[in-house]
Each structure stands twice: as structure tokens, then as C-alpha cells.
């Protein structure tokens, strides 16, 4: 198994180095004449006012939240899915109960409007 991941490691190294090489090549081949206006932040021709870190709506965080919970659900369900043919009826019931718990959570968020984009 480790030799399989050796391939992944080698591939990862190459997949990191090639784009880096392409960008460095672009730096070498391209001209380099920076000036203050060219390097300024683009904002449709207007000068930027204030911080970039304007405050964001909590909606983005809520999406991330629901995503985390379902992601965790997925890592539990994948091994169970692989072993599915060996499972007893009790195990199947337990799995479905687990899914139902999360569906309740999703329905709660739905009713509370957490999934709406106000």
C-alpha cells in the first residue's frame, strides 16, 4: 500500500513543480515595468477606500456549518456502505437512524430559514 502512495507523493511533487516552473518562466519571459498606477488595486477605476476586509454576512458561515456536519456524516457512511453486504438488520437500522438524526437537523435549519439567502 505504501508504494501506491509513493506514486501519489511523486505525482504531487511534479504537479507542484510544473505550475511553479510555468509561472517562473512567465516571470522570465515577460517584461517587467511596474509603476504605482499599474500596481494599484483594481476597483473599476476608482481609488480604493477603506479596508478590504469589509464585514461579511454570517450566511457564509452558516453554509460552512451545515457543510461540516454533512461532511462528517459522509466519512461515517462511506465505510458502512463498503461493508453493507455484511451488515445485520440492526446495523442497517442504526445507520438509517443516524441519517434521520441529521435530516432532522437539516429540517430544523430549513424551518428556521438558515438555508435561505436573505
Amino acid at each position: 500500500m505504501l508504494s501506491q502512495y509513493a506514486f501519489i507523493l511523486i505525482m504531487a511533487a511534479i504537479a507542484l513543480v510544473l505550475p511553479l516552473a510555468a509561472i517562473i518562466l512567465g516571470h522570465i519571459l515577460g517584461p517587467r515595468r511596474p509603476d504605482a498606477v499599474k500596481n494599484a488595486v483594481y476597483e473599476s477605476g476608482v481609488e480604493t477606500i477603506g479596508d478590504t476586509w469589509v464585514q461579511f454576512r454570517a450566511q457564509y458561515y452558516l453554509i460552512g456549518l451545515v457543510f461540516v456536519v454533512f461532511d462528517v456524516e459522509a466519512i461515517f457512511l462511506f465505510p458502512i456502505a463498503i461493508a453493507y453486504s455484511q451488515l445485520s438488520l440492526f446495523a442497517v437500522f442504526a445507520t438509517i437512524f443516524f441519517i434521520v438524526l441529521l435530516v432532522i437537523g437539516l429540517l430544523y435549519d430549513w424551518r428556521k430559514g438558515a438555508l435561505e439567502w436573505q
Binding site: A6, L16, G26, L29, G30, N39, F70, Y84, L106
Partner: protein
């Protein structure tokens, strides 16, 4: 190591030259990985050409037609132009985040090619956790978008970066759940074994058309829609909506760094089509892949035909549909696709434990899929009707609201 793979030949050759085993394997892997990565980067040129041709035909244009046959070398010229462009680094950008983002964005896509099965025995590495590997490393793209958005020190870029992340996260869940339905049927996470599962042997001859997509059309549809969103293609391209966000999280990038984001986007779209081909359309399976010599070559052909056909289908959707709003994007992911895929999983979990022979189970799964599609389409029709009426109402004089005789006739327009 299971079965015979592409690396065996190279390893045999090198050990024949007297190299130690480890070194031979390392060199073989290095060659394979190098070819795979380069295939990914070069295929982007072809993919961009296909996109341009497909979209321009849909818009009654010719598309690129000057350089080379059918304008095939146009993208090569574009690449040469991009590489000789000045790379502008905005002042006050964050060095680490700004420069690492384009590289990571390409890396996150190219590494996925390692587990895509091209033909029997021709897969970078058939991992036991192949399916989860793809989903997990897909999240590098999310990080890259956040890094680019934040590192550019530009309000539009950061806003677009946030939108990208919201969209990618929302549609990753239906995608994972639709993959889970496949894993539930096949009982494996390795792409090689999922492909082998989809054979259909009759009388000792592998017809290779036991595709899961035939049995699970709803899961396939969910996967396809989520892959459109993950590839940031048009119905879901609100993260680069030119009219609102100028270009997306890569506004401040130029030259080769911009090209890297561009490349990642196109290759990502193709990798997602290839995954759909493998998961639902049998990958390299097709009539005659069981034959001794010609089989793998046929398999490679089937795989490329399927994956590029799905890629063209994606472009077709892209050229046809209008862009959806962010609230509709959220609505569709969480209130349509996620419940539908959860329902599929629960039904499948029950059906697969019924004490009946496999074909009956498959028939039940097919019926469940059709049922889910029917429910979703009905619900969506109702939503579209009410949304259309809402829009109509808001355009009518206030005094007329409520005096309408037949609301349904308005919805028809």
C-alpha cells in the same frame, strides 16, 4: 499491487538493466506521473478549443478558425502570448497567499488525475479510497480560491472568493451523497473496481454496458448538476459574474498566474466529466473490452469518447442556460439536491437488504430513482410557477393585485 499495471513493463525493463527494485519502481513512477501531469496541462489547450468551438456554434459564430486546421492551434498561440505577458503584482498583496493560490489551484486538479482509470490496467494508482481521495483533494481548490481572494487585497476578489467557497461547499454535499449511492451498490471505493462492476457478461463475452447510470438516473443527474457547479460553469457561474464581480477571485492576476487559474478551471471540468463517465457510464467498459490485445485500446477509446462527450454536454448546458441568482443557487443545493440524494440513500439502504435476488433489487433502485426525479420535477414546477407569479405581480399596478381572475393564465406567459 493488484493485477498488471502500466508500471510493470518499465520496472521489468529497468531491473533487467541491473537497477535495484526500489530505484526501478521510483523511476517508473516518476515517468508515469510526469506523463500524467503533462497530459493534464496539455489537454487544457484542447479543452479550451472544444469550449470555444462548441459555444460559438451555439451562438451562430464560427469560433477560432485561422491558426491551424479548424483553428486548433489558436489556444497554443494564446498560451504563448500569456507566457510572454507581464506579470503584475498588485501592491499590498499578501506574498504567500497571492503567489501560492494559482499553483495550489492547478495542483488540486492535476493530482486528481492520479486515480482516474483510463483503460484496463492504465490508471495512475488505483487507491482503495479513490472516491474519497477525489472528494478530499477537491477541497484544495476551495482553499486556493480563499487564498487568492484574500491575498489580492481587493474587495471584489474577496467577495468572489467567498461566493466560490459558498457554492463549492454547497454542491459538494449532493455530489458526495450521489457518489455514496454508487458505493452502496458496488461496495467499493476504488475506481478500478467500480468500473469492473459495470461489466455485463453474457455467454462469456463482456458487453460492458452494465452502466450504473442506467439503473440510477437520478443519482447521475444529481452528480452532473453538482459537477456543473463544482466546475463553475454557466448556470452556476455567479462567482465570476462579470456584471457584478468583474471577473471573480482572479481579478488581480495576470499573465501566467491568470493562465494557471484558467487551466485549472478547464481541466477540473474535464476531470469531473471523466469521473461521471467512470462512476455512472462504465468508464472504459464497452463492447469487446474483454478481448486479449485489442481490449485495452478499445477501453481507452471508450473512456475518452465518454468523458469528452460529457464535457461537450457541459458546454452545451453552459451555452444554453442563464445564470441563476445566489439565493436560487442555495435553494437548489440544500432544498432540492440534498434531500433528493438523502432519500435515494435511505431507499437504497432498505431495498438492498430485501431478501430478493439482485435483479429485483436493481429494478427497485431504478424505480426509486424515477420516483425521486418525478417528485423533484413536480416540486420544481410548483416553485417556478410561484416565482413567475411573484415576478408578474411585482410588475403590475398595485391596484390590480388581487383583482386577477385567473392566476394560472399569467404563469403561462
Amino acid at each position: 499491487m493488484q493485477g498488471s499495471t502500466w508500471s510493470d513493463g518499465i520496472v521489468g525493463l529497468l531491473t533487467g538493466l541491473g537497477l535495484p527494485d526500489m530505484l526501478a519502481l521510483g523511476i517508473a513512477y516518476g515517468i508515469g506521473a510526469f506523463i500524467l501531469v503533462n497530459f493534464g496541462m496539455v489537454s487544457a489547450l484542447l479543452l479550451i478549443w472544444i469550449t470555444r468551438k462548441a459555444i460559438s456554434r451555439m451562438q451562430d459564430r464560427l469560433g477560432p478558425n485561422r491558426l491551424g486546421p479548424y483553428g486548433l492551434f489558436q489556444t497554443v498561440a494564446d498560451a504563448a502570448k500569456l507566457i510572454s505577458k507581464e506579470i503584475i503584482t498588485p501592491s499590498q498583496s499578501d506574498f504567500l497567499a497571492y503567489n501560492a493560490a494559482p499553483i495550489l489551484s492547478v495542483f488540486g486538479v492535476l493530482i486528481l488525475l492520479a486515480v482516474v482509470p483510463f483503460a484496463p490496467g492504465l490508471v495512475g494508482m488505483d487507491l482503495n479510497v479513490g472516491v474519497l481521495f477525489v472528494v478530499a483533494l477537491g477541497s484544495i481548490g476551495v482553499m486556493a480560491a480563499l487564498m487568492a481572494g484574500w491575498g489580492s487585497n481587493n474587495k471584489y476578489a474577496l467577495l468572489a472568493g467567498f461566493r466560490v467557497v459558498a457554492q463549492l461547499l454547497s454542491y459538494e454535499i449532493p455530489m458526495v451523497l450521489s457518489i455514496l449511492t454508487v458505493v452502496l451498490v458496488t461496495g467499493t471505493m476504488s475506481f478500478g473496481r467500480i468500473t469492473e462492476f459495470q461489466s455485463l457478461t453474457i455467454g462469456g463475452f463482456n458487453l460492458g454496458i452494465g452502466w450504473l447510470g442506467i439503473m440510477m438516473p437520478a443519482a447521475m443527474l444529481i452528480f452532473f448538476i453538482s459537477s456543473l457547479a463544482e466546475a463553475e460553469l454557466t448556470p452556476f457561474d455567479l462567482l465570476e459574474a462579470e456584471s457584478e464581480l468583474i471577473a471573480g477571485f482572479h481579478i488581480e492576476y495576470s499573465g501566467m498566474k491568470f493562465a494557471m487559474f484558467f487551466l485549472a478551471q478547464f481541466v477540473n471540468a474535464w476531470v469531473l466529466s471523466a469521473l461521471m463517465a467512470v462512476l455512472f457510464l462504465g468508464g472504459w467498459q464497452g463492447p469487446g473490452v474483454g478481448l486479449p490485445v485489442i481490449g485495452p485500446i478499445l477501453g481507452l477509446g471508450y473512456f475518452f469518447i465518454k468523458s469528452y462527450a460529457i464535457y461537450v454536454l457541459q458546454q452545451w448546458v453552459r451555452g444554453t442556460f442563464p445564470r441563476i441568482r445566489i439565493d436560487q443557487m442555495m435553494y437548489f443545493a440544500w432544498k432540492v439536491l440534498v434531500p433528493a440524494s438523502v432519500a435515494l440513500i435511505v431507499v437504497q439502504a432498505i431495498v438492498q437488504k430485501l431478501p430478493v435476488p439482485d435483479p429485483v433489487i436493481y429494478a427497485f433502485i431504478f424505480l426509486a430513482n424515477i420516483g425521486v426525479i418525478w417528485v423533484v420535477v413536480t416540486a420544481l414546477q410548483r416553485y417556478i410557477k410561484s416565482a413567475t407569479m411573484g415576478t408578474k405581480r411585482s410588475f403590475e399596478p398595485a391596484g390590480l393585485i388581487g383583482t386577477m381572475q385567473k392566476a394560472d393564465t399569467y404563469a403561462m406567459y
